[in-house]
């Protein structure tokens, strides 16, 4: 990936966390700006125009969600949330409020970098618009509406393709149940998460090597689904 001048803004009150984040991002060629509270973070977001924001939820002055909401009132910059609570409802709320993804502490740098890259890719896609999304052995041509697995084309039903399409446009990022339900179904069926589960099951049978151990279309418990961009990210920690 070409990212010599990508600027990442880290908003976190813990100096030690900022230190390793800085090292991790700088190793990957990012330039890093730090802010230790919400107010400073919003200021830095305005004046330094970062390409990516890493936002901690437990800030001394403002709640992370408030920072996110204020930021979203004028900017579309990708935001990855750092949180200690593995609370699904909170995650869904944050994603709804405009966060691109989240990482739960403690996390490995590779995980955060993958999320950041996925968010950046999606952010810049509007400009470059590559119609083919690849995820491991899977490639989805968004223009030709074709899906191939290990270079051989596979047949999907309309709803299966719709589901894969949404996930592919967010490749590497989590997509909430709500979002998927609203984009695939209409009317009352929108609330029926059972439909989504069954559709996912069917799609997995077509794209996964072992549907019992999905590696491409992974579940984010209580939140949604994610199409993994790279296999090693699913590797066990």
């Amino acid at each position: 990936m070409n990212k010599p001048s990508n600027v990442v803004l880290m908003i976190d009150d813990e100096p030690k966390i900022r230190r390793f984040l800085r090292a991790g991002f700088e190793l990957q060629g990012y330039s890093v700006i730090e802010a230790e509270n919400g107010a400073d973070g919003l200021k830095a977001a305005t004046f330094s125009a970062p390409d990516l924001i890493i936002l901690d939820l437990g800030l001394p002055d403002l709640h992370g969600r408030e920072v996110l909401e204020r930021l979203r009132s004028w900017s579309n910059v990708p935001v990855i949330i750092l949180s200690v609570v593995s609370n699904e409802d909170e995650k869904v709320r944050l994603l709804k409020a405009g966060a691109d993804d989240y990482v739960v502490k403690p996390f490995g740098m590779a995980e955060l970098l993958a999320r950041g890259e996925a968010a950046l890719r999606r952010y810049f896609k509007t400009a470059t618009e590559n119609p083919v999304v690849t995820a491991g052995p899977l490639s989805v041509d968004l223009v030709a509406r074709t899906v191939s697995l290990n270079d051989s084309q596979i047949r999907l039903t309309r709803k299966e393709y719709r589901l894969l399409h949404i996930l592919a446009t967010h490749v590497g990022l989590v997509v909430t149940h709500d979002q998927l339900l609203k984009e695939i179904w209409t009317g009352n069926q929108r609330d029926n998460i059972q439909y989504l589960r069954i559709l996912v099951r069917k799609l997995r049978q077509k794209i996964e090597t072992d549907p019992n151990h999905p590696r491409l279309l992974v579940t984010e418990s209580g939140v949604g689904y994610r199409l993994q961009a790279r296999f090693e990210e699913t590797a066990v920690e």
Binding site: F20, E88, H213, S221
Partner: protein
């Protein structure tokens, strides 16, 4: 027995009649108290009084000529006062009358005759009788007062000692032994304690014996707060037994049975009063113990709550933040070329990462445990794929499962389950962890899931040490750890957390083993989805 109660015996009247005990409500005793010693206590003093007067007469007779006539009445006052102070009013009255008669007979002319010639002397004799009666009355009253004062002082002294004994009591059993000790010492008879049972009856003490009649009475009694003491006569031995309840304001702890011996109604009443006073002290002490316990409980509760809050706050910040730093820093180091090229460095960094993950799992466990204790498990139910939940659980514990072969066998069209995925994932992870912990490395852990009516049953089987029937009974308890596994690290919270989370989701958890060394199977049954309606199937069809 009687030798311990000299004073009371002397006070007793020469007859016995039914006695009512204590505070009115107590049952009356329809029996004659024993009349032994009446001769010694009542007849002998009268004879001695008579004798005393006669001795004075014998001494005065030779002096009749020399002594002034007015010395005679004064000399006779000596045996009268002596009898009054020594034996009481009846002996003194007898002595007064005998004195008057003997004085008249021996000293007042005409001597050796009961006649009195001089009217002046008649007045003298009558005056003597009045003085003798009044002074003997006063003297005997004084004696009585002194005696009861002495008794009261003794009683107070004993009670004071008992209070001191009670002040050192901190538990009910301390108290019971204090009562027993005290009563045995003051009454010279062992006091028996019948502990109250949960069904409001009383338990027979393991040692000491009571007469059959007392036993029958205790068996028929029910524990009741504020019940008055009951007196029972043990006819063959002519002993009175007192049954006094030991209770605080809220609980009856038991019944004390004391043999207070025989004697008059008065004697029995005195002892009853004393025992009542003791029981009152006891109930005050019990209240004090109750209050102390309540305060202790409240303090413990508060401490636990504060600790829990502090624990949550501390865990999320003071532990998780450093842990995030360690994990994150190690992961950054792991991407550095210098580390990647050196196998030793790489292994060290991996070790740091692994341990940080392990520590995180442990902290999550503790958090879960406190969450359960705080009663804060509020499941967020939604339809979920059990495979996803199990996969997440396996992934979360990959390191601890790495030395086992995991096999999964899921029914093809397994219904969805209506659960909180996070909680079930945790429960499942705990069971997997236990399976790995208690089975040899390299062995197989099989995970299977099948539909059973409206439920989905997930089973996790290992080839490990199994469970003995004794362990089976205790396994649901918090912090239970089998005696055989003291060497295996763990908190003993795993199964408890798992079962709490499963129950919070409306499921059931079951653990079974064919026996020691035969492996264990843990099963979780969860509410599953009903089969799809035709309309729903139509919604799904999109070919």
């Amino acid at each position: 027995m009687n030798s311990h109660l000299p004073i009371d015996q002397k006070l007793a009247k020469p007859r016995a009649r039914p006695i009512g005990i204590g505070t009115g409500g107590a049952s009356a005793l329809d029996a004659e108290p024993p009349s032994r010693g009446v001769w010694r206590t009542h007849v002998v003093p009268l004879l001695l009084s008579f004798l005393g007067v006669s001795v004075v007469t014998a001494i005065l007779l030779p002096l009749r000529q020399d002594a002034a006539a007015n010395l005679v009445p004064i000399a006779y006052l000596i045996p009268v006062i002596f009898a009054a102070t020594r034996w009481g009013i009846w002996s003194a009255t007898l002595a007064s009358i005998v004195s008057m008669v003997e004085a008249d007979f021996f000293f007042f002319p005409p001597v050796y005759s009961f006649r009195v010639e001089d009217p002046q002397e008649v007045v003298d004799l009558l005056m003597f009788l009045i003085v003798a009666l009044v002074s003997s009355n006063l003297a005997s009253r004084l004696r009585h007062e002194t005696e009861s004062l002495r008794l009261r002082e003794q009683e107070i002294q004993l009670l004071y000692e008992f209070s001191r004994l009670l002040a050192a009591c901190f538990t009910v059993s301390d108290l019971v032994s204090a009562i027993q000790k005290y009563l045995s010492r003051t009454l010279g008879q062992p006091a028996l304690f019948f502990a109250a049972r949960t069904d409001a009856h009383f338990e027979t003490p393991p040692f000491g014996s009571v007469p059959g009649v007392v036993h029958a009475r205790v068996a028929s009694m029910k524990a009741q707060i504020g019940a008055p003491p009951v007196a029972i006569l043990d006819e063959p031995a002519q002993n009175v037994w007192l049954l006094g309840p030991v209770c605080s304001e809220t609980t009856v702890h038991g019944l004390v049975a004391v043999n207070i011996g025989g004697g008059s109604r008065e004697a029995v009443e005195i002892k009853t009063r004393r025992i009542e006073a003791i029981l009152e002290e006891v109930s005050l002490t019990l209240q004090r113990i109750d209050i102390e316990n309540a305060i202790k409980d409240a303090r413990l509760h508060l401490q636990a709550e504060l600790l829990r809050d502090a624990f949550h706050g501390t865990l999320s910040h003071e532990l998780c933040t450093p842990l995030a730093t360690i994990r994150g820093s190690a992961s950054v180091m792991d991407t550095m070329p210098a580390v990647r090229q050196d196998d030793r460095l790489h292994a060290l960094v991996e070790g740091i990462s692994d341990e940080a993950v392990h520590l995180d799992g442990f902290i999550q466990n503790l958090l879960n445990a406190t969450r359960v204790t705080a009663g804060g498990v509020a499941p967020h139910l939604e339809w979920a794929e059990l495979r996803d939940i199990v996969n997440a659980a396996i992934k979360g514990r990959a390191r601890r499962l790495s030395s086992h072969k995991i096999e999964m066998a899921f029914a093809e069209d397994l219904p969805l389950v209506n659960v909180d995925s996070g909680l079930i994932e945790e429960a499942c992870g705990q069971l997997l962890e236990n399976a790995a912990k208690y089975s040899p490395s390299g062995s197989r852990i099989s995970i299977s899931a099948r539909a059973e009516q409206t439920q989905v049953v997930l089973s996790i089987s290992d080839q490990g040490v199994g469970i003995t029937p004794e362990e089976q009974q205790q396994i649901g308890r918090r912090s239970f750890r089998g005696q055989r596994h003291q060497g295996v690290p763990g908190s003993g919270l795993g199964f408890w957390i798992a079962s709490t989370f499963v129950r919070a989701n409306g499921g059931t958890i079951d653990i079974a083993s064919k026996g020691q060394g035969q492996g264990t199977t843990a099963s979780i049954a969860l509410p599953g989805s009903p089969p799809m309606q035709p309309s729903e199937l139509a919604d799904l069809r999109d070919e």
